[in-house]
């Protein structure tokens, strides 16, 4: 037992190992051509990080409910009467608790398998040192977010994660669409981040006056086994609501929730491995993790909760509907990610933070798997268009199996991972409908999404893998199974997709879903609901959601099964709807309109002011000085007698001033 506790002292090594990989690969990458330009180093260091992360997580399972906070004070400011009453410190520390242990498992496992998979997937690309260095830096940043023990450090690494995402989306920077997708992702998440920062300031201002020791200790989340803050007690509830909304905005930006969701499908311009690690399993889940931390350590009001439920619930169906019509295999999975993140946000908003975390964990496994399988397909056929694929199952048995496992997990078919967590969310929210009837519409949206989810993912499966052969001639003939470095990660994640949900029924593992906070002011004393317990009503609900999922699969099979293409008759009334969905509800067009008309006219007005008012003033001064100078230079004749005349004139002027003007002025003004 002692060994496990002492292990937590070394938690800082978990993010530090990938950081070392970043430095080494960044400095020496071009010279490591035998190691796949540093790729194997990245694999090695992320493996080390994974081993340590798993050991820490095991220690947390064995000693349930321990909060080990190892911190290092960066700098501190002494107390002052004008600033912080008890002083202020900036702390870098690692907090190992049940939820961060769970996140360690998710991030290090997915990080490691994606690194391994990259060796095969990225082999033919150039710029590999950059790829592996930034991916390692991303792992560092993400683990920093997971292990952060205070709000400022959390924000620091949160921003670093966003920067890495920007670099990796724009990995193929020579491609204009990739460069603009990277910019879009960065700018849209920035909107959320700025609001998040405003929220942090409000929390600081509110709680620093309610409890001055909070600032002095460095805005820590916890104190021993309790939340540091009195969770909304003794603060203005209106302010707390506003801060919570800002926190939600930050989470919505990172997790691509409505209305900041448009960047995630465009982020698919990056390599598929990046989509799997960053835009499916880890970074986009950071927003959900932020909401979990918010509800455990900072406190939400019931208005905040309703806002979170609304955003999450609406996003599920919003994104899932768009996933039904798109033909780019990666984009469909990206919309699915947005939709699934909506489920997690919904659960956290309804007060079931741990249930949201449960879905985060299973989703990370099966969604990374789906991306890796899609990457394997793209690697084989070099297109992302589903309508050109087909018949790949016979050529790529492992990939087809992996994709099928992920698809079943995503659809929520028991006993795959997604069933347990998604069902847990639905029944948990259902249990709140009695006291919160305002959750009803969002619950129904989430329920309808179960059907859509099963439909769109099996549409992808049938289009890509089933049928006699590819619809574009020659694609499936040349397709072949991927090398082992790509198969092994898929099989590992396929295994996790199958058993991830079952693992929570093992008691030590379930302790990771029990935050065991001893804070008396735990927001709402709701049951944790992980692992899911099944009274009668839940079984009926499960049966309903499974029936919806099976229905979705059957519809997908009816329309697309055996590789057939379902084409909509030209006169179909639903045609305009399909067009709307393909145009992404015209949100992108609205963005362009806001950018093109709104922002551009502001810019033009500013340009006018700048050019004619400000520059005009400056140029006017310049011109008048130039004119005066032109006239003045005529007195410079170069003839020494003229200068002598100026000197004498000046001398006489000085005499006149000193002898006559100054005394007259003194007598007039009455000075000394």
């Amino acid at each position: 037992m002692n060994f496990w506790v002492s292990l937590d002292q070394w938690a800082f090594l978990v993010p530090l190992l990938p950081a070392l990989a970043f430095v080494i690969i960044g400095a020496l990458g071009e010279r490591l051509s035998k190691l796949e330009h540093g790729g194997w180093l990245a694999v090695l260091f992320s493996a080390g990080s994974m081993v340590l992360g798993f050991l820490i997580a095991i220690g947390e399972m064995l000693g349930p409910g321990t909060y080990v906070d190892v911190r290092y004070t960066w700098f501190s400011i002494p107390p002052s009467s004008t600033g912080f009453r008890d002083g202020f410190s900036l702390v870098m520390g690692t907090l190992v608790d049940p939820i961060s242990a769970l996140m360690l498992i998710v991030v290090t496992l997915v990080g490691f398998v994606v690194m391994l998979y990259s060796i095969g997937y990225m082999h033919r690309d150039t710029g590999l040192p950059r790829y592996y260095a930034i991916l390692s830096l991303f792992l560092t940043a993400m683990l920093g977010v997971v292990l952060a023990d205070n709000l400022l450090m959390f924000f620091l690494f949160w921003e670093l994660v966003g920067v890495c995402s920007y670099f990796l989306i724009g990995f193929y920077y020579a491609k204009p669409s990739a460069a603009s997708a990277a910019k879009e992702a960065f700018i849209v998440t920035r909107v959320g981040d700025v609001l998040f920062l405003a929220g942090i300031f409000i929390y600081f201002a509110m709680y620093a006056s309610a409890d001055p020791s909070w600032a002095a200790s460095g805005f820590l989340f916890t104190k021993g086994n309790a939340a540091f803050l009195p969770l909304g007690q003794g603060v203005n509830p209106t302010l707390l609501t506003i801060a919570g909304i800002f926190l939600l905005a930050g989470a919505a930006g990172k997790s691509a929730q409505f209305p900041l969701d448009a960047w995630l499908p465009d982020a698919m311009e990056g390599p598929t491995t990046v989509s799997a690690l960053i835009h499916a399993a880890t970074m986009v889940a950071a927003g959900v993790y932020l909401l979990v931390i918010g509800s455990l350590f900072l406190g939400f009001t019931s208005t905040d909760q309703l806002a979170i439920v609304a955003v999450g619930g609406f996003t599920t169906i919003w994104a899932a509907s768009m996933a039904c019509v798109h033909t780019d295999i990666k984009r469909v999975i990206a919309y699915s990610t947005v939709s699934q993140l909506g489920y997690m946000v919904l659960a956290v908003g309804a007060g079931f933070a741990m249930v949201g975390l449960f879905h985060l964990y299973t989703h990370a496994m099966f969604k990374a798997l789906l991306f890796l399988a899609a990457g394997s397909v793209i690697h084989a056929v070099t297109t992302q268009d589903l309508f050109k694929m087909g018949g790949l199952r016979k050529k790529m048995r492992y990939t087809a199996f992996a994709f099928l496992a992920g698809a079943f997990a995503l659809s929520g078919i028991p006993p795959f991972g997604g069933f347990w967590s998604k069902d847990d969310i639905l029944s948990s929210v259902y249990s709140q409908l009695g006291t919160h009837p305002e959750y009803w519409p969002f619950y129904l949206m989430a329920l309808a999404t179960v059907f859509l989810t099963a439909y769109y993912i099996f549409r992808v499966y049938f289009l890509a893998f089933e049928g006699p052969s590819s619809r574009e001639p020659g694609l499936s003939e040349h397709a072949h199974e991927s090398p082992w470095v790509m198969r092994v990660p898929m099989l590992v994640l396929a295994g996790m997709a199958i058993v991830a949900g079952l693992l929570v029924f093992i008691p030590p593992f379930a302790t990771l879903f029990n935050p065991t906070l001893t804070s008396p002011a735990f927001p709402v004393a709701l049951p944790l609901n992980v692992p899911p317990s099944y009274p009668l009503v839940d079984i009926e609900l499960s049966a309903l959601s499974v029936a919806l999922a099976v229905g979705g699969i059957l519809v997908a099979w009816w329309l697309w099964g055996n590789g057939r293409l379902a084409s909509m008759p030209r006169s179909a009334p639903a045609r305009w709807m399909r067009e709307t969905l393909l145009q992404r509800y015209y949100v992108k067009a609205a963005y362009d309109w806001i950018g093109g008309v709104g922002v551009y006219s502001i810019a033009r007005a500013s340009d006018f002011v700048d050019r004619f008012v400000i520059d005009g003033t400056v140029r006017g001064f310049e011109r008048s000085f130039a004119g005066i100078s032109q006239r003045m230079r005529k007195i410079q004749t170069g003839v020494v007698s003229d200068y002598a005349a100026y000197v004498i004139t000046g001398l006489i002027a000085v005499f006149v001033i000193v002898l006559f003007v100054a005394p007259w002025l003194v007598s007039r003004l009455g000075g000394g």
């Binding site: 410079q636 004749t637 170069g638 003839v639 020494v640 007698s641 002598a644 005349a645 004498i648």
Partner: protein
């Protein structure tokens, strides 16, 4: 001695200064310019001598101090002429003339 008034002497040096100033402003010949400057210089030297010879008891340059300063100024004037004549020679070599209006290349 007693009938002499300082006013006439000061008037003399004022006249000398006026002549000197007129010369500086109107002459273009460097030698004449130098002579004009010397005249102005001598007006100042004479002033020192008058005030030394008509001690008022309150003036700083009464008596010996005034005469000493006059000696120093004569030396200074000699030095100045030496420098001035050197410039005249250099100017003559450069432009082939000692007209100061020709030495206007600093204007550019």
């Amino acid at each position: 001695m007693t009938s002499l008034s300082i006013v006439g002497f000061v008037g003399l040096s004022t006249a000398l200064l006026a002549i000197s100033t007129f010369g500086i402003l109107t002459r273009r010949n460097f030698i004449l310019l130098l002579i004009s400057i010397e005249i102005g210089m001598n007006a100042a030297i004479l002033d020192f001598l008058y005030f030394a010879a008509f001690p008022t008891g309150s003036h700083y340059f009464d008596g010996l101090q005034g005469q000493s300063i006059a000696i120093v100024l004569i030396g200074l004037a000699a030095t100045e002429v030496a420098v001035g004549l050197a410039i005249v020679l250099a100017l003559n070599r450069l432009k082939g003339s000692i007209n100061v209006a020709e030495a206007s290349s600093l204007r550019e």
